[in-house]
């Protein structure tokens, strides 16, 4: 692919749309899980709030400041995990992670596959995974701050 092609793959319409109009942005009074994600290299930040009921992510909201990729990723994630069980969300994260780190079948990822273009921009992969690492933290170590620099 030409670099022009890779660039328009990175900034697909879906991503531009979600970065300009993030879904589920805001704050969630009923949240019982909350985590803050931070990318110290670029200052991107996300606060993720979840309402988990009977093992299901009943509602989700986030507040984020960052680049188009990180905001779009948080927005797409919020749509994808809403109404899913915790296990389903965790499986999704694993698939998503595989998509960005190596070749993998993206068909099961639906709209999330729009972020596969970041694979060609290694410096930007962390922008796409920040929201997901924050989700992991919210589900496993609620009320923690995670940074993109602690994972290997």
């Amino acid at each position: 692919m030409t670099f022009e092609g890779e660039l328009s793959d990175l900034y697909q319409q879906v991503i531009l749309d979600h970065s300009k109009h993030p879904r589920n942005a805001g704050s969630l009074d009923s949240a019982n899980r909350r985590a803050v994600g931070h990318n110290p290299l670029c200052g991107d930040q996300i606060v993720l709030m979840l309402e988990v009921k009977d093992g299901v992510i009943a509602d989700v909201k986030f507040q984020s400041s960052g680049c188009a990729i990180s905001v779009a990723s948080a927005s797409l994630m919020s749509e994808a995990i809403k109404g899913k069980t915790v296990q389903e969300a965790e499986l999704m994260f694993r698939k998503f992670h595989e998509m960005l780190t190596g070749a993998c079948d993206t068909s099961s990822l639906g709209k999330l596959s729009a972020l596969s273009g970041t694979r060609e921009f290694p410096m930007r992969v962390k922008c796409a995974t920040l929201a997901w690492h924050t989700l992991e933290a919210a589900l496993n170590n609620p009320n923690q701050t995670v940074t993109t620099e602690s994972d290997a």
């Binding site: 022009e4 670029c42 200052g43 990729i69």
Partner: protein
């Protein structure tokens, strides 16, 4: 310092000849000519530097100060000749005042941990400015924690100049050291270091100047500015990575305890007692980056041949042009408007985040940096998360600035 306005920038032919000295400038990036506008992070290297480093390993390589054999003698001479070149470059009084380190960061750490550990007492104050790079903040925090000294911050005004009169309020008999950048990497602000040093000395405080950005951009004279400590990195001055310089006034260096222990820094070692080597070797433990230091000399001689006053004039012309061009765009805001600015301009564009801007510019071969530039306290003070930064060197052209401005059109096409 020379009268800058009288110094002419380069002619087109001169600039072309300079560009031809830097092999990396011929690179194609993303299918386009590289426009390298990230010189504040590191500069490209002239062929003379690259070849000197290779030549050292091919024909001169040995350890220094340790052997009587032929190669060791050659390597030691080359290494010490480079020290003399640095001495002249800085107009230091003596070679004993020139310590080689692995970079500006290590130079500052050396001062904090050696001088700081000995002279800082609980309640003593260390003054830093709001413009500092993390490497002129964190070493002071570490030593403050260990000694009970306290950090005070010299604020900036709305132009990103140091607050007028700010130092008057901060300086007291408790102030032991003021650590200040010569040229700020986030804003290009040139600080009035000569006046600052004089004022601090009158108050009995020492001054460390972080010269990482200044060394390649403006003529330096340690005796004129009356510096106590001056730190710089070779790689930002067209030299190799892994080499830095720490200048310390001899009377101050004499009082400083060793920073690291090891070979070369000792005179005699027994298990009861070690005596230390002379200045500056006492502060150069272990095998230094000999090849890097030898090649660094070529970088200094390179900028000296051109003249730092002319490099300053050239970068000033480019920077003024970049600031004007960026400010002419209604949706672009440049960060700070310092009275005196060198080679660096940071900006924000309304429609896009700095990382996205840098990715789009990269797609047309324009290399800029985005993020907080190791200036998190400054970013917080300005209420922003980061910026896109263009920083110029001896070889940059107006055309490259125009390509940057052109690239912003593409940013708008995608993000507006």
């Amino acid at each position: 310092m020379p009268h800058r306005s009288l110094v002419a920038p380069f002619s087109d032919t001169e600039l072309e000849a300079i560009r031809a000295d830097f092999p990396a400038l011929g690179l194609k990036v993303r299918g386009q000519n590289l426009a390298y506008l990230d010189n504040a992070a590191t500069t490209q290297k002239p062929a003379a530097v690259i070849e000197a480093e290779a030549a050292f390993y091919r024909t001169q390589n040995a350890n220094v100060h340790r052997g009587v054999h032929y190669l060791s003698q050659i390597a030691t001479e080359l290494f010490e000749d480079a020290r003399e070149t640095v001495r002249r470059f800085l107009n230091a009084k003596s070679r004993r005042e020139i310590v080689f380190t692995k970079g500006c960061t290590e130079s500052i750490n050396l001062v904090a941990h050696s001088w700081g550990a000995k002279f800082l007492k609980p309640g003593d104050e260390i003054v830093l400015s709001q413009l500092e790079h993390h490497s002129n903040i964190v070493p002071w925090q570490l030593i403050a924690e260990r000694t009970g000294a306290v950090l005070r911050v010299w604020d900036i005004d709305e132009n990103c100049d140091l607050m007028q009169g700010g130092l008057d309020e901060l300086l007291s008999e408790r102030t032991k050291i003021v650590a200040l950048t010569h040229i700020a990497n986030g804003t290009g602000t040139i600080n009035p270091i000569k006046q600052v040093i004089a004022q601090c000395h009158a108050a009995g405080a020492k001054v460390l100047i972080d010269g990482a950005q200044a060394a390649a951009r403006t003529p330096l004279d340690m005796q004129l500015i009356d510096a106590d400590f001056y730190a710089l990195s070779a790689h930002k001055l067209y030299g190799p990575t892994g080499v830095g310089v720490l200048y310390v006034r001899e009377s101050v260096l004499e009082q400083m305890p060793p920073y690291q222990g090891g070979g070369d820094m000792i005179r005699t070692v027994s298990f009861d007692r070690t005596t230390y080597n002379d200045l500056p070797y006492r502060f150069e433990a272990g095998t230094p980056n000999v090849a890097g230091v030898v090649a660094f000399r070529q970088a200094i001689e390179y900028v000296q041949r051109i003249g730092l006053d002319r490099i300053f004039a050239h970068e000033k012309e480019l920077t003024d042009f970049a600031v004007q061009s960026l400010n002419a765009e209604p949706d672009v805001k440049t960060i700070g408007n310092p009275k005196n600015r060198a080679g660096i301009v940071a900006f924000l564009i309304e429609c896009a985040h700095p990382h996205d801007v840098a990715t789009i510019l990269d797609s047309i071969g324009v290399a800029v940096r985005s993020g907080h530039h190791c200036n998190m306290p400054l970013m917080k003070r300005l209420g922003i998360n980061g910026t896109t930064r263009a920083s110029f060197g001896v070889y940059n052209t107006k055309t490259e600035v125009e390509r940057l401005i052109e690239g912003l059109k593409k940013v708008r096409e995608i993000f507006q």
